[in-house]
Amino acid sequence: MDDNLLEVRNISVTFKNRYGTLKALDNLSLNVKKGEILGLVGESGAGKSMTGAAILGLIDPPGHMSSGEIWYKGKCINDAHEAIRGREISMIFQDPLMSLNPLRRIGDQLLETILTHMNVTKSEAIKRARKGLEEVGIDPNRLNSYPHTFSGGMRQRVVIALALAPEPSLIIADEPTTALDVSVQAQILDLLKNLCKERGTSIILVTHDMGVIAQTTDRVGVLYAGRLAEIGDTREVLTNPKHPYTKGLVDSTPRIDANSFYKELYQISGTMPKLDAMPNGCAFHPRCEFAIDKCSKETPQVFSDRAACWLLENEAIVE
């Protein structure tokens, strides 16, 4: 367990509304190893982005982390989010058009970040800012340009340069390519992946796209209704899913090859429960073909460090 960069231990995020207390994240645990890319996949509202926000302590009120601990480099950082933001863990948001301050030159934003975190002189900071832009494939002479003069893909490159500028050990990328044109998505993902590999930076990649997961990540966590359904080596999870929900997700992903071209896609019946109408027991059981009695009564824990499903209970004991 020593190579764990980040450990999320049993965190819950709750917020109150008129109908009572809702759990956006429920007893979630996961870990990120040094240099690896962990994918987080799930439907919208499953808690993917919330996990990222919780790690950085950026949950918007009225929500708050009600229990659990987040450990980073062997220390609990529950009360030290501010010290690790940017310098240790950085975040990239979904919409590059909204991520940059429209009223400030990108150079100012880069310099501000570098000068805040690195103990360097202004001229050194400018040098670093230019180098940062060059690395993400942007002409360093555009330091004085405003964000609106860049296209969406270019802006996401600027955002990556900003996130990498303080040389963090972990980047949380929250759907970094969803808002971009399909043709640009792969470029940006490759860029992010390569830059992080060079620096040994880990990534938590939040996405709803199984294709991105398959291409980019080393390990993957599947979230369902604020709970972890399954986690494990990406190849292993995608080829041999243990949780019925993961199986459904994999089967419902379109593939372009001769064998499957005319086959109808699998559909998971029903929809994910709303947070204010969570069923008892396993959140997935109303939609699950394999549900047994126990599923509707008790919430399963994660068995064999792999999947939260009662079907694995006995298997786990055997192993």
Partner: protein
């Protein structure tokens, strides 16, 4: 960018023509210029001569342009009361109103923005909530009531400040200023607070809600995620974006200040154009009303134009709208 400025300029001129049209209609058809220049005893021939001399038989458009042409030379005719030229009346009273309006606008803008930022950053805090609830009372208090209550407290009970007039003024050419004497400045305090308080609460509430809105934006979240201090996030990222809409509204509020100056000037017997206007309304002094409308129209159009230009100066997206995708 030049295109935008010229388009705005064109719109402003159009608005001015319409305001001038309304002024003209009031001047020409609500009042009766002949009756007011001549007594009842004038003969029909004398009346006809005057009508001819005033051009009242000319076609409508000619009279309208004649009105504008005269207005451009500051000729608005004579007041029905006292028969003084309207332009002279207004010129003698303009400095008082401008000094009052500028002082209160400054007071409202500076304090309003500062308190607004404070209540946004300390959202939910004890003092912030107190300020917010008090501000609701401020919005509901009519201007004249604020003035009367301030007079009661500071002039009648405490006897600290004068309750009416401008105090001693110093004449600088045609401009009379109250800024240069102690009694002038003391006289300015209560009217400025009265006039500025409503705008202050408005600007404060606006700053607060805009800032809270901006703080929800992704670029502020990103700035936080990059580990910038809350001071950097609040003042380098959230504040400039907050100020764009605040400046627009605050600029437009400057117009309201001029309008509400009518009320404040009445409460404090402040010898400005507002008091002149309200007396004109009371005594149906049409030329003064018409000239005041035109004056205020020009003022508002200029304010709107300045706000637009400020907008361009602050927001780079508007400055070179041709380069954005």
């Amino acid at each position: 960018m030049l295109v935008i400025i010229f388009r705005r300029l064109g719109q402003s001129i159009l608005v001015l023509f319409i305001v001038a049209l309304i002024s003209f209609l009031i001047f020409r058809y609500v009042g009766n210029p002949v009756d007011n220049l001549m007594g009842q005893e004038a003969t029909l021939a004398q009346r006809a001569a005057l009508i001819e001399a005033l051009g009242l038989n000319d076609p409508f458009y000619k009279q309208y342009f004649n009105f504008i042409w005269k207005a451009l030379q500051f000729d608005f005719g004579n007041s029905y009361r006292g028969a003084l030229p309207v332009s002279e009346l207004i010129a003698s009273r303009l400095p008082a109103t401008i000094e009052l309006a500028v002082t209160s606008a400054f007071f409202a803008l500076v304090l309003g923005v500062i308190i607004g930022i404070y209540t946004a950053i300390n959202r939910g805090g004890y003092i912030a909530n107190l300020i917010l609830s008090t501000s609701l009372i401020g919005v509901s208090l009519p201007t004249f009531l604020i003035g009367v209550l301030l007079i009661w407290l500071f002039a009648v009970e405490l006897k600290w400040l004068p309750s009416f007039g401008r105090g001693d003024v110093v004449q600088l050419g045609w401009w009379s200023t109250g800024f240069l004497t102690i009694s002038g400045i003391k006289s300015l305090v209560l009217p400025s607070i009265t006039l500025g308080l409503y705008q202050l609460t408005l600007i404060m509430r606006l700053t607060r809600s805009e800032m809270l809105e901006v703080m929800r934006q992704d670029y502020v979240r990103f700035a936080k995620a990059l580990g910038l201090s809350s001071k950097q996030v609040n003042f380098n990222h959230a504040l400039p974006n907050t100020l764009v809409p605040v400046i627009t509204i605050a600029g437009l509020q400057l117009g309201s200040i001029v309008a509400f100056a009518i009320i404040t000037e009445t409460v404090f017997q402040w010898p400005g154009v507002g008091l002149l206007f309200i007396n004109a309304v009371y005594f149906v002094d049409i030329p003064v009303m018409s000239a005041y409308l035109l004056l205020v129209g020009v003022l508002f159009v200029i304010i709107n134009l300045i706000v637009d230009l400020l907008y361009l100066a602050i927001d780079p997206r508007l400055r070179d709208s041709n380069t954005s995708e």
